[in-house]
Symmetry: C2
Subunit: 333 residues, 2 copies
């Protein structure tokens, strides 16, 4: 559990794209994003108050979150000077960097000396059980994709936000680093040992109120041969009552696999549904989420209408039009 509120450390991010983790936190957990810290030369701006560490302390910030990717796998001296001072002032530090905070001797020593915690969210911190497959109370929705990086996290976050805005019981359950930094907890599933993947997903989505929905962040794709095992564990560990299919229509091949074509939504549906029903016989597919960023407004509208007619399920781009229709479909279950 990463303590909120956060100070978003943007460092010397050359541009906005380099700070997309910070943007995710800003968009999806605005209550937690109390301020931003920028070094000279920073080209990113979250539109949050720029704060010194002293101001962040006064504003009640508990954790400095590194919201920027580091270049060349090196945590620079300029970054470290700020983070170390922050630790000495009583902040925890959280990051999803490939090279770990805990492997930096000076940061580790400062955390040790000051009783602070370094959260490396790429590394599992909990011990997960082997999945037992027992049916759990409460309801679960899992985003599945025709490919990796087609908008599964965004879809889950948008559905969760929409449900909470309606006063419905809902929790987003992150399975990747950005999601974990957004909510402050979760399972970095791609770093979990194989035998415990499904058990970790069960652990992440425990018994809950009958009318509560978990929105489980999807990973990979059944059709992406590098990561399909992780997707399978999400489908069987998550026991989803509902699945939303996510797709990005401008892809010409599977991400990183030039020889692999994307499946159609029909093939994804017909593959995922029988597999999901092994763990939850009531599983169904309730909607389609399309990332239409490659299309203009009219073209996007036409594409969504065409898919909705073909698949027969509510089809939206939640970035353009919100997730209301996807949530309506869950409530109809």
């Amino acid at each position: 559990m990463i303590h909120t509120p956060y100070l978003l450390f943007l460092g010397d991010a050359p541009d906005h794209l380099a700070a997309k983790v910070a943007q995710g936190i800003r968009d999806w957990n605005p209550d937690a994003a109390r301020g931003q810290f920028r070094l000279p030369g920073c080209g990113a701006d979250m539109g949050l108050p720029d704060m010194t560490l002293e101001q962040a302390k006064a504003a009640g910030v508990k954790t400095i979150v590194v919201g920027v990717a580091n270049r060349g796998g090196v945590i620079s001296p300029a970054w470290k000077a700020v983070l170390k001072q922050g630790i000495e002032m009583g902040f925890d530090v959280a990051a999803g960097l490939h090279n770990l905070l805990r492997h930096e001797p000076d940061l580790a020593a400062a955390a040790q000396a000051n009783g602070r915690t370094l959260h490396d969210v790429r590394v599992p911190t909990d011990t997960y059980p082997i999945a037992d497959g027992k049916r759990r109370t409460g309801k679960r929705c899992l985003a599945i994709g025709t490919d990796c990086s087609v908008g599964k996290m965004y879809t889950g976050l948008a559905m969760d936000a929409e449900m909470r805005a309606r006063g419905l019981k809902s929790t987003f359950r992150p399975t990747g680093q950005t999601g974990i930094l957004i909510t402050g907890n979760g399972v970095p599933l791609d770093a979990v040992v194989a035998d415990f993947m499904a058990g970790a997903v069960e652990w992440l989505t425990p018994d809950n109120d009958a009318d509560h929905w978990d929105h489980i962040e999807g990973q990979g794709s059944l059709f992406h041969v590098s990561f399909s095992g992780v997707t399978m564990a999400l489908i069987h560990g998550g026991q989803p009552d509902a699945m939303v299919m996510c797709h990005e229509p401008s892809r010409t091949h599977m991400r990183g696999l030039p020889d692999y074509d994307l499946p159609t939504l029909e093939v994804l549906r017909d593959t995922a549904l029988p597999l999901a029903r092994i763990a939850n016989p009531k599983a169904r597919i309730t909607g389609v989420s399309i990332n239409t960023k490659a299309y203009g407004e009219d073209e996007a509208k036409r594409y969504l209408e065409e898919v909705e007619a073909r698949i027969g399920l509510p089809t939206v781009d939640p970035y353009r039009m919100g997730a209301a229709r996807l949530v309506d479909a869950l409530n109809a279950i």
Copy 2:
């Protein structure tokens, strides 16, 4: 790589079942099993020469393999006295125990002092890549199961042995601890980090001669919700040209999951084949391997005939009648 030949350490195994790892090595790599070492009270016997450590040394043994399960997760002082002496005499030691050899300070110190290696085959020793999905030369056969522990390893070992007996090019590729101890190498797939599972299987089954077959040890089942992600990674990382379906007909439910029924062989076929064809469009199912241990001779024969008529593929119990027909089916591809 674990160096052969082996001295099989049976310790104080109360009975034969406790020494089933040793039995696997004895059955499937008899050239490697040079002798056995038994402590007072040992109730297991591999029918190998009983050797002192000195005799094993003289016989050219390179590695002492712990072929017995330890009770209560403790490596007893009696075991350790032998293993430590062996290390000091220049043997490596290999084991698949839950508690690791390397975590025993006296064994670790002895290995360090004498330049010997402790092989804990439950722990991955190699760094695996992320799978790239590229088609590899050579052919691959994967055993898939309706459930866990239905005879997948046995089937692969039997097919490999049959092919080698015929002078065909063939390698068994272990993915579990017993298989690794049998052949001396492999990938302990259930202990690999999620992101690298499929890549580990690609690594294990690299480019080979066009007429060479890898027999990949299967793990779990697509229908076993605790481990289906591991199975999925084997299907996509292994890119099997052929799959053999394995089944144990006396099961009343999935192993360890009392609420889950086993799939039929037809459902397994119809689920696995489209998934396998994502990675290898030429994938096919070539045979059925049934563990008929619960049946008498006549009953087994009738059952096999019935399945063969139903599924339309060579159906054998390789333990009772060998794997010749399964190999014939591969050669027909």
